[in-house]
Symmetry: C2
Subunit: 325 residues, 2 copies
Amino acid sequence: MADISAPPRVTSVDVARRAGVSQSTVSLVLSGKARGRISARTEEAVRAAAAELGYRPNVAARALRTGVARSVALVVPDITNPFFGRVLRGAQRAAQEAGYTVVLVDIGNNRAWEAASVQALLAGPADGLLLFESDLPPGTSEHAIQIEMMPGRGLPVVRLDVEAGVDFAVDHLLALGHTRIGHVSSNFDAPTFDLRAARMAERLGGPPPTVKAPFTFEGAKQAALDMLDEGVTAVFCDDDILAGGVYLAARDRGVRIPEDLSVIGFDDLDFARVLAPPLTTVAVDAEGLGAIAFEALARDLAGDRPPDEQVMPVALKVRESTAPP
Amino acid sequence: MADISAPPRVTSVDVARRAGVSQSTVSLVLSGKARGRISARTEEAVRAAAAELGYRPNVAARALRTGVARSVALVVPDITNPFFGRVLRGAQRAAQEAGYTVVLVDIGNNRAWEAASVQALLAGPADGLLLFESDLPPGTSEHAIQIEMMPGRGLPVVRLDVEAGVDFAVDHLLALGHTRIGHVSSNFDAPTFDLRAARMAERLGGPPPTVKAPFTFEGAKQAALDMLDEGVTAVFCDDDILAGGVYLAARDRGVRIPEDLSVIGFDDLDFARVLAPPLTTVAVDAEGLGAIAFEALARDLAGDRPPDEQVMPVALKVRESTAPP
DNA sequence: TTGTATGCGTTATCAG
DNA sequence: CTGATAACGCATACAA
């Protein structure tokens, strides 16, 4: 039989009755504000009663009263991408330690949903927002941190050092002797990708041959096929998934990696290691990114001003997908 | 300057004042219970005022008053695994349509955290639980659905047809002429993995050579190395990640796939396609699993009894990692 | 058809 | 040191 009746919630009044004190005393004790106001004896009695009854404060009531939900939202473009899973885990760990809960909003790579989702959130239980490659809807004033965005729109930013990342990558390729280097870039419109393109152009003395691809192996493969026609000897990919697409295209065309084509990815997703040959890629601390972002938001929520911009180091992980041309 | 002051929240009282009606009228209109009770004119006025003011009901207040939060929690073993990302997305999509929000709890493959996390949830804003390969802490009576568990402990279950999955896999291997088939199994303790082992033993007329591995490429590789020593000509893996470990081990030992060793995975994660050779695997509708599970929970929450067990079909996706011995 | 009054469980401000 | 008491914003029974 379906259990319609709600589980019998035990409230602070129940605890008070059990301990033989008033409800406000219970609240005082349990919220840790009893320092020198409540006798050790009563405090003990209250705690015992609460434990016996299995009392858990009602978060809705607390949120209503205090105006804070101790919860933040993380908005990501695509939770299906393991990278964001790692970011979420990092944020969640940091949040848990601070007594916060994080609710995940997955945009599903669909910018159209974005506004609606974020709107829903603002009405919702979120004290603040962690926005990954995403903007605050205009007109909304909220506590928010932007991840992987550039500073300048008033919100604190936490981002990867992508400039260093592309520098590592192209320097590595240049050192190997490559001169015709292509760029397999993301067709998802975000500042971090613009930045990569700009940086490559800068280091290479002009814009490289470029194709734009979606974050799917199949889509990236199609784009990479075009890139192969350009006659490049090496490609830098905005993401490991894109690099996977390049592997697929190369396999189709019979071009060997790294003998005929060097490829470098970005993110160091787990599967980069299991590709054949193992992918050289820019390794990134995704969990750290999430954790740092949460911490910045926590400071903001606490009324403390977080840094305007925090950039996290990256490192080139040289495996076997790169070689001299 | 950090904005300490909370954004000025607009309440139903503000809307009422603006529309020149009482607060209860606003509530009636906005909760859709105005059918034939409120004149079209006032209703219009209320809606206009709400829109102008940008009114969003306070969820904490509503939750306190009604006793429901319109939010469910999804507990997964490891959000870093893309499979669970897909499940989450499916659940989230279904939830969004029903006006629910889903909060994700990542156990991080750490059973020790599990109880604590779930406990926190029960106190929290979750009306119900979606438990992936996880049990309800004893003594807690809550609305919950189990995913990828076996029926029998009182909770409705939504699961994959893993029996069919292993049948497809071993039939395929048998048809190819394999007789020495190994099992690379998960060391994460869950019924779905026990079921696979049992089914294989059943189909094979006895327990196959087996190794247990964690869900990491490196760990799976180590385990697979042992398996290679057993002299099997084919392996069935509980998961594509495990299969990836087998690829790594095979590469190390110089055994060729599929000429020397056939391998079959489970889940059809995206990267299965980009492996060399592309992995033959049991494809599974992870998003559907999440969606169906949410729907079952929604029915439960509505006081309607969900099916005791729902099993979702799977299909063998034959690619190039299997061949005759 | 609409308004008044009440309470959900908490925290916080006061008196005592 | 402790206990009444007043909100927080909303939904709803009941009165008008």
